[in-house]
């Protein structure tokens, strides 16, 4: 049914359609509306039987999820940013134990300085932990991916995180097509665990593994993720058969076939990029967008195939590795080994700084003319940066950094009439 609703609410309804048995979450902006929505559905009896636990921290949330999943229940949680970091020990534990937990990450920047707005640093910080990472471009895709995620996770015995941009998607009201329960039931069978805590057949889960076997266990996780590279497009096809639309998969190209420049990006910025690309195409520029929808496992072959014939790749990412540069661009570069292409990294939108068409047009025109530096920070105010560096060179006691910057930004007090 087509409805106009908030992204978080759409995700909550989609998750509920998947008949989760245990939901546990700790509130953190901007995920709160998702969990509140699910809590309401459980309380009203619409989602039943389902245990909804209000846990005392994100670490507890993932730990409760581990217990629940190990006991054979379909389990869901959600978090963002600081919350994801707080549960990291348990995040690794979940993937290490092979538990098919599904988690929404409402992408948000990581502090310090504390920042509630969107960027991808949280998911990116966990790219090595063994979870499958899927990125949604829109609220429709966000809700669709959750349905696919449960199926994928349970088949592979591997946890899946569905990443959606905080505020930009979670708090946006837009049109979505919400599936019917019968459709989801047809697509997603009941959870059949590979391993389960059951008195009828006792097992010990989580024992120590020594040097004799640890490498093999780790490798098997990698092997499974590699297998997922085949399964993910298949699940997207199966999804299309039942629900009638495209969602998920590994990558999606927009006007890339004859493109001389391809912009690579993840998440909601792809929408703005498509508008920008249309503008530039109308000007005669051969440019396209490659959206990476599955970031882990990294679709090496698909990315390589998509970028093989272009002259120029611009990776536009909302993530950044301090001391190195781009994160996504490093992975993309790996896919391009032995293919000669001009590569540019544009780090944009950190801490929620808006990414505007105007700025994108400016930077992409420079890229197309090969006048762009290898690493660019979109809309960075170099004046402020340089002024602060000079300040630090001149004096030791510069105080907390962001507060020092505020002097230059010139925050003013309101005047009232």
């Amino acid at each position: 049914m087509i409805k106009q609703t908030e992204g978080s609410q759409a995700v909550a309804e989609a998750v509920a359609l998947c008949r989760p048995e245990v939901i546990c979450a700790y509130p953190i902006s901007p995920q709160t509306h998702i969990v509140e929505g699910l809590g309401a559905l459980v309380k009203s009896g619409e989602l039943t039987p389902c245990e909804f636990l209000n846990v005392e921290s994100e670490f507890a949330a993932m730990s409760v999820a581990i217990g629940s999943s190990a006991a054979g229940a379909r389990t869901y949680t959600a978090t963002a940013s600081q919350g994801l970091l707080f549960m990291v020990e348990a995040v690794y534990n979940a993937s290490g134990l092979g538990l098919p937990i599904v988690m929404t990450v409402a992408n948000r920047a990581i502090g310090a300085p504390i920042n509630i707005w969107n960027d991808h640093s949280d998911s990116m910080s966990q790219r090595d932990c063994g979870w499958i990472q899927l990125f949604a471009e829109s609220n429709q895709e966000a809700l669709d991916l959750h349905i696919q995620a449960f199926k994928l996770a349970e088949e592979m015995s591997m946890p899946v995180m569905v990443c959606m941009d905080g505020f930009i998607l979670t708090h946006a009201y837009e049109q979505v097509d919400m599936p019917e329960q019968a459709q989801v039931d047809a697509f997603l069978p009941p959870y059949e665990p590979r391993q389960v805590l059951d008195p009828a057949d006792p097992v010990s889960i989580g024992a120590m593994v020594g040097p004799e076997a640890f490498m093999e266990v780790r490798y098997l996780a990698h092997a499974k993720q590699t297998m997922a590279l085949d399964r993910i497009p298949e699940i997207a096809d199966e999804f299309k058969e039942v629900f009638g639309r495209d969602a998920g998969g590994l990558v999606r190209g927009y006007r890339i076939d004859d493109a001389e420049t391809i912009v690579v990006a993840l998440g909601s910025v792809v929408g703005t990029l498509e508008e920008t690309i249309d503008t530039m195409r109308a000007e005669g520029v051969k440019i396209g967008v490659l959206s990476i929808r599955c970031f882990r496992p990294f679709p090496m072959a698909a990315v390589r195939a998509a970028l093989a014939r272009t002259a120029r790749v611009v990776v536009l990412e909302k993530s950044f590795s301090v001391g190195l540069g781009g994160i996504v661009s490093t992975d993309v570069r790996l896919a391009m080994v032995r293919i000669h292409v001009r590569g540019y990294t544009v780090v944009a939108g950190l801490g929620g700084r808006p990414i505007t068409q105007e700025s994108l047009l400016r930077v992409l025109r420079l890229a197309v003319a090969d006048e762009l530096k290898n690493l660019t920070f979109l809309d960075l105010d170099w004046d402020i940066v340089n002024r602060h560096l000079a300040r630090e060179a001149a004096s030791r006691h510069t105080g907390p950094l962001p507060e020092a910057l505020l002097r230059d930004i010139g925050a003013s007090a309101p005047r009232s009439r």
Partner: protein, 339 residues
């Protein structure tokens, strides 16, 4: 005709199981016991935790007719019971992390509740225990423990308290008693060993959460331990059992003194044995024969620096004062038993 029975075992009040009617014997005395923690584990000789866990888990198994799942924190128990590639656990068992046993237990209980609902049952038949050492319970696991308590999740948490991080080499935890030597509270300086005025009383914190059942027990009174486990499993909701388990290696005690030390801890008043329900203390185990603390301390090398020519009698006096305070606070002595 009645005849007084002479007890030939000295220094202990143990009564051989053969002298008791069957229904009063421990679970361990039965050949039908579950052996949930089976032999072959790698615990040290005289390990109090292995003894306590064996009794506690089998008692829980009997109380639940074998319908039990265990979540275990990282620590000695987890390590010595699952030396890769073997496991001594004969019940479904999961080890997740150091600080989350209580939360994992909560998760298992939630899953079981839903499964029961789907089977048309009013509540879960399979029950859950979560267990860990003092480190995993009073320190790193404290947040999850409190969360499990306040949600009243249907989990029995058993803490095996050997007063330190033993598995990693005997470091101080918030359960380490004052003056005790550990690797991080060396017997040096003006206040040798662990400092006074620190630490937590987690059993009383559990009571303050007003959960259905809290009890402390020791491995000196194994009947009592089993009875408390059974009592706990007859109730639903959050329950906590804090078991005093001497560690010969960590405490520098003889491996044959484990049970003796546990008894002395009770009889000195240093480890009060009590039960509480819904926030009120309901029963205490009285001290039969009060004992001065140095009889207890003397048997452990972790207190050796308090004795001898360079000893600290004033510290021993402070420890005695702590014991006396416990006796008064919990009413551990009847009037005629007062020292």
């Amino acid at each position: 005709m009645t005849q007084p029975i002479k007890f030939y075992q000295t220094g202990t009040f143990t009564v051989g199981n053969r002298l008791l009617p069957e229904d009063k014997r421990t679970v361990q005395s039965s050949t039908a016991r579950d052996n949930s923690l089976n032999s072959g584990h790698r615990a040290c000789q005289g390990c109090g935790e292995a003894l306590g866990a064996r009794y506690a888990v089998d008692a829980a198994m009997r109380a639940t007719a074998g319908q039990l799942i265990a979540a275990n924190a990282t620590g000695c128990l987890e390590v010595f019971s699952t030396p890769y590639p073997e496991t001594s656990w004969q019940l479904p068992w999961i080890h997740s992390l150091f600080g989350n046993a209580a939360a994992v237990g909560s998760g298992i209980a939630a899953a079981l509740k839903v499964k029961a609902a789907k089977a048309g049952l009013p509540e879960a038949v399979t029950r859950v225990i979560a267990q860990g050492g003092d480190g995993g319970t009073t320190d790193i696991g404290f947040g999850c423990l409190s969360g499990m308590f306040e949600r009243n999740d249907d989990v029995l948490y058993i803490c095996y308290d050997n007063e330190g991080y033993m598995n990693t080499g005997v470091q101080r935890s918030s359960a380490t008693p004052p003056a005790a030597r550990t690797a991080t509270t060396q017997p040096l300086g003006p206040e040798p060993g662990a400092e006074f005025g620190k630490g937590k009383n987690v059993p009383l914190i559990a009571v303050a959460h007003e959960i259905p059942y809290v009890a402390t027990a020791t491995v000196a009174d194994l009947h009592d331990l089993e009875a408390k486990v059974e009592k706990a499993m007859s109730l639903r909701g959050a329950r906590y059992l804090h078991v005093f388990v001497p560690c010969p290696l960590g405490w520098g005690a003889a491996s044959c003194d484990t049970i003796r030390l546990a008894r002395l801890a009770r009889e000195t008043g240093l480890f009060p044995v009590f039960e509480a329900e819904d926030g009120e203390i309901t029963a205490v185990t009285k001290i039969r024969r009060p004992v001065p603390v140095d009889e207890y301390l003397r048997l452990q090398k972790r207190y050796a620096h308090l004795f001898g020519a360079k000893g600290h009698p004033e510290t021993i006096a402070r420890i005695q004062a702590m014991a006396d305070k416990n006796i008064k606070r919990f009413g551990l002595l009847d009037a005629e038993g007062a020292a």
